[in-house]
Every structure is written in C-alpha cells, then in structure tokens.
Symmetry: C2
Subunit: 233 residues, 2 copies
C-alpha cells in the first residue's frame, strides 16, 4: 500500500525498527513513548494466546506484541475514534489484519464487547494522573490519554479481572507514585501482583516507571526484580 | 559497670562502632542484622519526639536511634522476657536509662500499655515470614522473631495506627515479597505509605529488603527511592 494514501493530514509514519513495522502517529494526539515499548518487552504472551490491550491508542502495543510473540490474536480497544482509525490503518499497512483487531469502545463498558473470562492476557498503558491532578485545559485527545478523565485505575483493574481467564495474566506500566493504589486495587479485584520491575533513568535517580505482572486468582508472593536502569555507566 | 557482672551465660558483648555503644546478644536468641541498622538510618526522628519500637528484641533499634537522633524518649516493647532482660542490661551499661525504656509486653495488647495517639514515631523490624511458611520446629526464641507466631503484620500495623499521633510516622523494614500485604494493610489502617526504598546486594540482584515510611492520615503520594545497593562496583 502506498504511504500517500494511508497517512492523512497532520499524521506521520514512524519506523518501529522491528520487522519493517511502521506506525501512523499524529502529534495532535498521544504519541507512544518508551513506556509502551518496555511494556511490550515485559509482557509474556505464549503461543496461541488471546490478548486484549486496554486503551490501545494508536495500536503500538498490539503491533509490537504481534512481532515479538506467538500470540494468536491481539485485540485493542480505544475510546477515541481518531486513534482507532489511525491504528486500523497501521494494522492494514503492516499486513496484520489476521492477528490484530482494533475496536472503538469504552473501558467502563467492556462487558458489552467481550465475554467474561475470555482472555489469556490483558495489557494496558492507562492514563497515569488522577483526575484533578495537574492542570487540564480541556478534554482534548492528549489529556484523555494522560489523565483519568474517561476511566480510572479501578475501572481498568476491575474490568480486567472480569475478562481474564482463571490464572490469566495482567501487564501494566504505570508511575511508581501510584503503587499503593495499584497493588491495593489489584488485590481487591483478585489480580494478585506477582512481579514488579521499576525503571529508572540512572543509578542515582528515582524510578519513574513501574512494570507490573498480576495473575488472576494467583497466590500471594511478589517478586521485585532488580530495576531496569536505562543509562548505566 | 564491669562487663563480667552484666553479661551472663551464653551471652556476648558486641561493639556497635558508634559512640562506644555496646550491646548484649545471645546466639540462642535472635541477633540483630543489617536490617535493624538500615532501619535506624532510614527512620527520621526529630528533636524531643517520643518513639516506640515494636518487638525490640535486644533493643538494637532504640539504642542506635538514641545515638543518631535527638528524640526525647525511646520505648521498646518485647514479648520475650529474656530479650527484655538483655536489652535492659545493655541500656544500663550504655548509661541510656534516661532516654530508653524497655518493657515486656504483647504487640496484640498495646492499648493496655499506652494511650492512643501518644507517639510521634513508631519503628519496627517485625517477623518476616507468615505463620505456616517454611519449617518451624517449635515456638523457640528465634522462630518467634522470624515467623508470625505470636503476632502478624496486621497486628503490627493496626496497633501502630492506634498509637500514632495524627501525622505521626511509621518506619518498618520487611521483605519485598510481602509488599502487597504491607501497602494494603497500611492503607487499610490509615498509615499512608509515603516512601519506600529497596535494598539489594548488588546491581544485578533482586532486592531482599524494603524500608517503608508511612504517615498516619497522610495523603496518597508514594515516593520510591533509588535502591540502596550494598556492594556497588
């Protein structure tokens, strides 16, 4: 397919440096960052598993996971119509329509789209900031991706708990300052935290990201990995 | 005081390499480790504050904090009579009777010893292992210090919540694999986790200790420090 016909208006076409994959992004919307790349490396997806990505944005996580794993099908759900449209065009361009499906939908209304206990794995890079933190000018595309305006952490975790199979796995990237909320809510909704890995820029800097694996109805034993240090002398 | 009269039977007299302080220990009981030393460095005690150490053992934490801070009074409570006796003799030997008081008592019955909301700071190095984990031969002195035989994490945190003043501070050292229990119970009993610091032997090893600061009725924002790496090239 010709890139002239697939990229529109303010959009750009970025190379993912992996299997010749490309992704359509638009700087008027949320563009993917290192957090999505780290989450797609952290998540374990086994052969033939069915994977759901909540708040998939431009589809970066399903696209990366489809290349890195042998999962059968990756479904991304996203509330912003323009992102769904961009993500779908990236899936078509990359010839991934047999393994990735992007849907428009609301994380607060997952049960209207999916059966309970139907997914092996759920991934998510949700909005990090509670509604009311920081200055939000308006409900624009970027603030919806960054702040808990249209869904909050409890919506993400409670919804995931319903959709995961027993022993299904949940993978999330988030900010360390929300860790008490994260771990408390995961336990509340029976996605037991099993592994956390902090990410810090350098040895003497506080971590600014945390990667979390939980298991639906898993037993209580958390492993804390050594941190990932991005720039290490 | 002569050491011959203060050290008895299997006991030994260890130098703390701090202000000429010494401590009586007995290898038949739990001897202090690096965790108590790290906790006493991590805990912030301000001038004239009143501090309680739960499960004080041989009194290591009050003795170190009395040297490192300007706290007014350090009270240690311990259920094992033999430890209370050793701790009291260490306090006397070090001329600290005006600032440290060691009491025999049960963490599950703190309200019979202390008024609610009476402490500025509570410190604790509690038993790490849930009752039932690992092989416990008997209710001996060491297993009481290591396993939740006579009190569990919820007893420690719920008791601390009652005794701390509003905005009082709670400092604990524990194992990372219990982090979900720790953070969930602290929030449940309104000691909001504010700072955590992991301790790992080297850069490529998982942390094996975690230091936690909580604030009674504090607001929700957790800082995760960069880890403390004991052996760093």
């Amino acid at each position: 397919m010709n890139t002239d016909t697939i990229v529109r208006g303010n959009e750009r076409f970025d190379d993912l440096n992996l299997n010749n994959l490309k992704i359509i992004q638009n700087s008027d919307f949320f563009c993917f960052g290192i957090d999505s790349v780290l989450l797609s490396n952290f998540a374990k997806v086994k052969k033939n598993e069915l994977v759901l990505d909540l708040g998939t944005g431009n589809g970066i996580i399903p696209i990366l996971l489809s290349a890195k794993t042998l999962g059968r099908m990756f479904i991304g759900i996203e509330i912003q119509k323009e992102c769904v449209d961009m993500a779908n065009r990236s899936v078509i361009y990359n010839n991934l329509t047999s393994r990735i499906k992007i849907m428009e939908g609301d994380i607060k209304d997952l049960s209207s789209h999916f059966d309970n206990m139907s997914f092996d794995v759920i991934t998510t890079n949700p909005p990090y900031m509670p509604n009311g933190d920081g200055i939000i000018c308006e409900y624009n595309a970027k603030s919806i991706a960054r702040h808990e305006l249209l869904c909050n952490l409890e919506d993400v975790i409670s919804g995931s708990s319903k959709l995961l199979k027993n022993n299904g796995r949940f993978y999330m990237v988030h900010r360390p300052h929300r860790l008490v909320d994260i771990l408390s809510l995961m336990r509340k909704y029976r996605i037991e935290p099993k592994l956390i890995k902090f990410v810090q820029a350098s040895l003497d800097k506080q971590p600014n990201m945390v990667l979390i694996e939980g298991v639906k109805n898993g037993g209580a034993w958390l492993t804390v990995s050594e941190p990932l240090i991005i720039y290490n002398d």
